[in-house]
C-alpha cells in the first residue's frame, strides 16, 4: 500500500514538473487573447453614414437609433452587446470594426455608452427631415443623382417629377 501511494505521488510530481507553472499573471501581465477573439466594436465616425443597418441587425438591441430635432443619434450600449460582430459584417461603409477590447468593467452604466451624432438634413421646399447629411453625400458619390432632387423629401420629389412629366405631355402649368 505504501509503495502504491509513493508511486502515485512520484507520477503526479513528474507530470507537474513537466508542465511547469500554468497560471497567467493577468492584471500584471498580458491577457490570454486569441486571434479570433471578438471584443467591443468601435464605430469610425469619418466613415459612418447613419443608414441604420447595424441597428436593424443587432440581436439584443445594443445599437439603437434616436431621432431628435436636428440630430440622429446612434447609441451603442456595451453592457448589452453580445459581441457577435454581425454589425461589422452588415455595415455597407465598413465603419464598424471589431476590436479585442474586453476590460470594460465600470461602476457607472453611462460609461459603457458610445454616441455617434449625425446632423439631419431637411427638405429644401417643405423643411421636413429626410435623413443624415452624410448619407446623402455618400449617395451623391456613388450614384449619378441630380442635386436638385437629393435635397427633397419623397413627397416633394414626387410632386416635382409629376409636374415635369405633365409639362412634357402638354399640360398648361
Amino acid at each position: 500500500m505504501q509503495v502504491d501511494k509513493i508511486a502515485k505521488l512520484t507520477k503526479i510530481v513528474t507530470i507537474g514538473l513537466k508542465t511547469g507553472r500554468v497560471t497567467i499573471k493577468y492584471p500584471f501581465g498580458a491577457p490570454l487573447v486569441t486571434e479570433s477573439f471578438r471584443g467591443a466594436i468601435s464605430i469610425d465616425n469619418t466613415k459612418c453614414w447613419g443608414c441604420g443597418a447595424c441597428v436593424l441587425i443587432c440581436p439584443p438591441n445594443a445599437l439603437s437609433m434616436k431621432f431628435e430635432k436636428d440630430n440622429i443619434i446612434i447609441e451603442y450600449f456595451k453592457g448589452r452587446c453580445i459581441f457577435c460582430g454581425m454589425c461589422a459584417d452588415v455595415c455597407p461603409a465598413n465603419a464598424i470594426s471589431v476590436t479585442k477590447e474586453f476590460e470594460l468593467a465600470s461602476t457607472d452604466l453611462e460609461d459603457l455608452k458610445e454616441y455617434v451624432i449625425h446632423r439631419t438634413s431637411k427638405c429644401s421646399i417643405c423643411g421636413k427631415p429626410i435623413g443624415p447629411t452624410s448619407e446623402l453625400r455618400s449617395v451623391i458619390k456613388s450614384q449619378p443623382v441630380s442635386e436638385e432632387y437629393i435635397n427633397l423629401c419623397s413627397d416633394c420629389r414626387k410632386k416635382l417629377f409629376a409636374k415635369a412629366i405633365s409639362i412634357r405631355f402638354g399640360a398648361s402649368t
Binding site: V22, T23, I24, Y26, P27, P31, L32, A40, I43, N45, T46, C48, G50, P59, P60, N61, A62, F77, K78, G79, R80, C81, I82, F83, F102, E103, L104, A105, S106, T107, L109, E110, D111, L112, K113, E114, Y115, V116, I117, H118, R119, S121, P132, T133, S134, R137
Partner: protein, 162 residues
C-alpha cells in the same frame, strides 16, 4: 470616504458568493474558470463561500427572472454591509438578449430600483459586460470593485462632420 476605509479591511481577502438569477450557465462556468489554477483568482485571496452571510462580494449573473426575484432580494438582504455586487455578463448588466421579454425584469439596473423600494442598499456595483465575460474580465471587474485597478472605459461622444 467611509466606504474606502471599509474596503481596506476586505482587500486582504475578499470572500465571494456566486448568485445565479436565471443565467444560461456560461457566465457561471467562466466564474469557475477564473477560480481554477489557470487564472487563479485565489492569488488575491478570493474564496468562494456557500452562504451570503459570509460573503464580502456577490458575483451576480443572469437577467433576473420573475420566479427568482424574491429569492434574490432575500439573498442580497442577508449580505453584510458594505454590500459589493459585481454584475457579470450582458444579461446582468443590461438584460442582454432578453432585454424585452415578459419573464425577466432586465438585469441588475432594474433590480437596483426594486431593491431601493425594498430598503436594501447596495454600496458599490461594478458592471462587467461580456457574453460570456472572460475570466480575465471577471478578475478585472473584481479588482475594480476592491480598488486595485483603475477604470479604462468612459462615455464616448462622436460627432459626424458634414
Amino acid at each position: 470616504m467611509k466606504l474606502d476605509e471599509k474596503l481596506k479591511n476586505i482587500r486582504r481577502s475578499p470572500w465571494v458568493f456566486h448568485l445565479n438569477s436565471g443565467s444560461c450557465n456560461a457566465c457561471d462556468i467562466e466564474i469557475l474558470d477564473a477560480l481554477t489554477p489557470y487564472f487563479d483568482a485565489e492569488r488575491f485571496g478570493v474564496k468562494l463561500v456557500a452562504s451570503p452571510r459570509h460573503a464580502d462580494v456577490i458575483l451576480f449573473t443572469g437577467p433576473v427572472t420573475r420566479e427568482v426575484l424574491p429569492k434574490v432580494i432575500r439573498t442580497l438582504n442577508a449580505v453584510p454591509r458594505p454590500r459589493i455586487v459585481v454584475a457579470i455578463g450582458s444579461c446582468a448588466v443590461g438584460g442582454g438578449i432578453w432585454w424585452n421579454t415578459y419573464s425577466t425584469i432586465g438585469g441588475f439596473p432594474k433590480l437596483k430600483e426594486i431593491l431601493k423600494e425594498q430598503g436594501v442598499e447596495i454600496d458599490r456595483v461594478v458592471y462587467v459586460p461580456g457574453c460570456p465575460a472572460r475570466p480575465e474580465a471577471i478578475i478585472y471587474g473584481l479588482l475594480l470593485a476592491l480598488g486595485y485597478v483603475k477604470q479604462k472605459v468612459s462615455k464616448v461622444t462622436k460627432v459626424v462632420e458634414s
